[in-house]
Symmetry: C2
Subunit: 156 residues, 2 copies
DNA sequence: CTCTTGCTTCGAGTGCGCTCCAAGTCCGTA
DNA sequence: TACGGACTTGGAGCGCACTCGAAGCAAGAG
């Protein structure tokens, strides 16, 4: 657990945008803070289509625009997408993530609700891990059977 | 690991229908071997519609019929559904399970392929567990932040 | 005999999460 | 000035995994 550390800084993070943990981010173009949609697509693995769709359904906090109306994503947006991607990979429905995004937009007074949401998600993730481990047992069992059947038919 | 045990019996299992592990099955109506679709629905958690659909797409081995044409599922069918349910819960696409069902129907000479399929699935499950663990770390991190933020605003 | 319940079939509909299209705008290079 | 390429929008379409509906048959209870 490397979780309890610089809490003065961390609380600021919690207060303004609830970004994901920087330590687990993939590399991103250096020294910039205004990314085009294709740059973001490349570094998040989401398609440009999907990014626009996320914005439409309210899963992205408001994205900056250039003077010609093109999207210019910030590092904060990338952090947000990083978190979304993680939650998505747990199977969290998009609607729930939208709900969380709304809470963030609604302001600081929703922090309690956000905490609950994360705790519920955490329980869910634990349950899924357990389920997968059970499945693993079944798979091992069957692999064992097939491997033995094969050895029996080849050998002897 | 409770996997290596009575292999004479287990090999017979591998040979004929590749059932799931009996030890993890939920209770089912006792002493019978011919279940109506609604009984099966009740004990698998799948809807009657879904069971018929599974049969249509080839995900069920041929199901017995009563003299009036109604489905009569056997214990073996229940075992099969048990396995299907487990694989489904890992996120395995239905198409892949159909592929496996086809291998089973094709006969014993496909056992090698089935073994490969299970091993691939196993790797997949391990990867997903890892992914979930990572997500768990992120969730813990954020829960920690929110919990601290809350304590800070309440206390003092 | 009628009623209810549960089954049969096939095809259409649903919800989710994208994914793509058409038509148009803007930018940088030659 | 012309061209290629990346961007914009709203809306339509897609693939998956169900889910439901309609119309009809069969069996048991009253």
């Amino acid at each position: 657990m490397t979780v309890t550390e610089t809490h003065t800084a961390e609380e600021a993070t919690a207060r303004d945008d609830c970004v994901a943990d920087r330590r687990v981010l993939p590399p991103r173009p250096e020294g910039k803070d205004r990314y085009t949609i294709s740059e973001v697509a490349a570094c998040t693995g989401l398609s440009a289509h999907t990014l626009r769709w996320y914005e439409r359904i309210g899963l992205m906090p408001h994205v900056d625009r250039s003077h010609t109306g093109q999207r210019r994503f910030t590092d904060r947006d990338l952090d947000w997408l990083q978190l979304v991607n993680r939650l998505r990979s747990t199977g969290m429905p998009v609607a729930d993530m939208v709900r969380y995004a709304e809470l963030v937009r609604a302001g600081e007074h929703t922090c309690g609700e956000r905490l609950e949401l994360f705790e519920a998600t955490r329980r869910d993730v634990l349950r899924r891990i357990e389920e997968l481990q059970e499945t693993l047992t079944v798979l091992d069992y069957k692999i064992d059977i097939y491997a033995n059947a094969q050895r029996a038919s080849e050998g002897t």
